[in-house]
């Protein structure tokens, strides 16, 4: 009966009702507080930004790389992917967004050390991949 009208089992419905109960409880706890609306925005923004911006953006970059480098694409794709991931995770440090808090809390500036480290890692990955690719072309592996 439930399966026909609803499209899944009673347990499916009950489980989801509990989940929505938890979400509702959390929203009630948060919305009345300072930054409550901001909380709701942040809670949904990540999913929207990922699906609408981040994924299409890196898929487009990847398509360009595939066209430009053909069968050698992985030598470029892998270092760029890791460099991009580090940028995504650590851009607040790299751009020193929290510098004022660093000074207050830690007693020193966030500093250019993070930007330099990220640049050096990225260059190192790209150069390492380029050298390995050149080596692989110069001394091809014998097929067994």
């Amino acid at each position: 009966m439930i399966r026909r009208a609803y499209g899944a089992s009673t347990w499916h419905l009950l489980g989801h009702l509990v989940l929505f109960g938890v979400v509702a409880y959390v929203l009630v706890q948060m919305v009345g507080r300072r930054g409550g609306v901001n909380f709701v925005v942040w809670l949904t923004a990540g999913a929207v930004l990922h699906d609408a911006v981040l994924l299409p953006a890196y898929a487009a970059v990847d398509a360009v790389l595939r066209r430009a480098f053909g069968p050698a694409v992985n030598w470029v794709r892998v270092p760029l992917a890791i460099s991009g991931l580090l940028a995504l995770l650590f851009f607040p440090l790299i751009l020193a967004n929290g510098d004022a808090n660093f000074v207050r809390a830690a007693g020193h500036h966030a500093g250019g050390g993070f930007a330099r480290a990220w640049l050096l890692i990225s260059l190192g990955l790209l150069c390492g991949a380029a050298l390995t690719a050149a080596g692989a072309r110069r001394w091809p592996r014998r097929s067994r």
Binding site: G46, A105, H108, A110
Partner: protein
């Protein structure tokens, strides 16, 4: 049914790697990481001993805390390990989450978007799951990087966000378990070939491109990305030589003995800690002790870590008076709790209530010196608490008063 063009057309998705088996493996690996992050997260909530005094940050009784227990003081590195895992695994899980979502993106464009009430409910639950996953990771990441671009209280929001995430994850795993089991069972028939055969969920491509990356290559990239993130951060928790390569860890790299909050940040000045400073002991026999009087008491030296909720930790050699000795001095009974108050005029952690176990542990010190020298002002001069296995912010700096009481 007429489908709109573009991503809604099944032939739009051409990667030969996508398929239910790939998604199942990525999902299983991500699940392991998320269980570690969730368990350590709720354990950290317990480590703050929210049931004592004014320790609770998330209002007590409204926090659903599943793990109610007296946080131990043994082993001393317990909280350092807990938070190291929470932060490093959380950071390293980001590439896994991105790969997992990449593998299921065709599902977002399923047509018709809703076939039944159950499917509508499931899609709403997925918004809660993916939304809260990014919420937890994004707020956690910017918080450890000391950047606060949001208006809400981080601790409260990250805690309630975890409740949405864990609930949504449990439901998701229950709903998808049969699909995962089927994918693992059918794997035997795949024999490693690409692509996976078309599946009812539309993950595997119906018009695949020739592969530019093997499935093994994709796992190597995901693993390499996770290892890279761990390599440039884990040193701030593990220490030793790894600290040198932790070049993107907020408190890694140069500093071996980071400061969490400077004296200036919480408005503690040199005048407040001069010769006029006294430690006030409250108990059955109240007392007031100058720093020289404290130094004349039996002193003990312990190697103990300061372990921050943000994931960094540092072990130093502390010298000071046992908290239990100070309790006995003012006549406190065994089993007493201790309210520790700081000179610092503002801030959430200007006071903390320590549990009976923390007070009784012989390694819990009111530290006066560190590494053989007087405490620097930023590390809590004239006296600070150091408690084995406690969160760093409970090791109160610039202590002014200790109140021993049975409850």
């Amino acid at each position: 049914v007429r489908r709109p063009p573009g991503p809604f057309a099944p032939a739009w998705w051409r990667s030969p790697l996508r398929g239910p088996w790939l998604t199942s493996v990525l999902g299983s690996l991500l699940l392991v990481a998320m269980v570690i992050v969730a368990v350590t997260g709720f354990a950290s909530h317990a480590a703050y001993e929210p049931e004592l005094g004014h320790n609770a940050i998330v209002a007590r009784g409204r926090d659903f805390q599943p793990l109610v227990f007296d946080w131990p003081t043994q082993p001393a590195w317990l909280y350092a390990l807990n938070q190291g895992l929470h932060v490093i695994v959380g950071l390293a899980a980001v590439p896994l989450l991105l790969f997992k979502l990449w593998s299921v993106i065709p599902r977002l464009f399923a047509w018709p978007p809703v076939r039944s009430p159950a499917m509508a409910v499931e899609r709403l639950a997925l918004l809660a799951l993916v939304g809260s996953a990014f919420f937890q990771l994004a707020t956690g990441v910017v918080n450890v990087e000391l950047w606060y671009p949001f208006h809400f209280d981080f601790v409260v929001a990250h805690y309630y966000g975890a409740w949405i995430f864990v609930s949504a994850l449990v439901v998701h795993v229950a709903v998808k378990l049969p699909v995962v089991v089927r994918a693992y069972r059918d794997r035997g028939e795949l024999r490693g070939g690409l692509p996976e055969p078309p599946d009812p969920d539309g993950l595997a491509p119906i018009a695949p491109d020739p592969p530019t990356l093997s499935r093994r290559g994709l796992f190597a990239l995901a693993g390499g990305a996770m290892l890279s993130v761990a390599a440039v951060t884990a040193g701030q928790s593990i220490g030793g030589r790894l600290r040198r390569i932790a070049v993107l860890a907020p408190r890694g790299g140069g500093t071996r003995f980071p400061v969490n909050k400077t004296a200036a940040a919480v408005r503690v000045t040199q005048d407040m800690v001069g010769d006029a400073w006294r430690l006030e002991l409250r108990g059955p026999r109240p007392a007031s002790l100058a720093r020289d009087a404290l130094l004349a008491l039996p002193l003990h030296t312990e190697d103990l870590p300061i372990a921050c909720v943000e994931g960094w930790s540092t072990t130093q050699r502390w010298t000071g008076v046992r908290l239990a000795d100070l309790g006995r001095l003012c006549g406190a009974s065994t089993g007493a709790l201790c309210l520790v108050e700081s000179l610092q005029p503002k801030g959430r952690f200007r006071q903390v209530t320590l549990s009976a176990g923390q007070v009784a542990d012989e390694r819990t010190l009111l530290a006066l010196r560190v590494n053989g020298a007087d405490l620097p002002l930023d590390h809590g001069y004239p006296a600070r608490m150091i408690i084995p296995a406690a969160p760093g912010v409970h090791c109160t700096k610039w202590v002014s008063r200790l109140t021993f009481a049975a409850t």
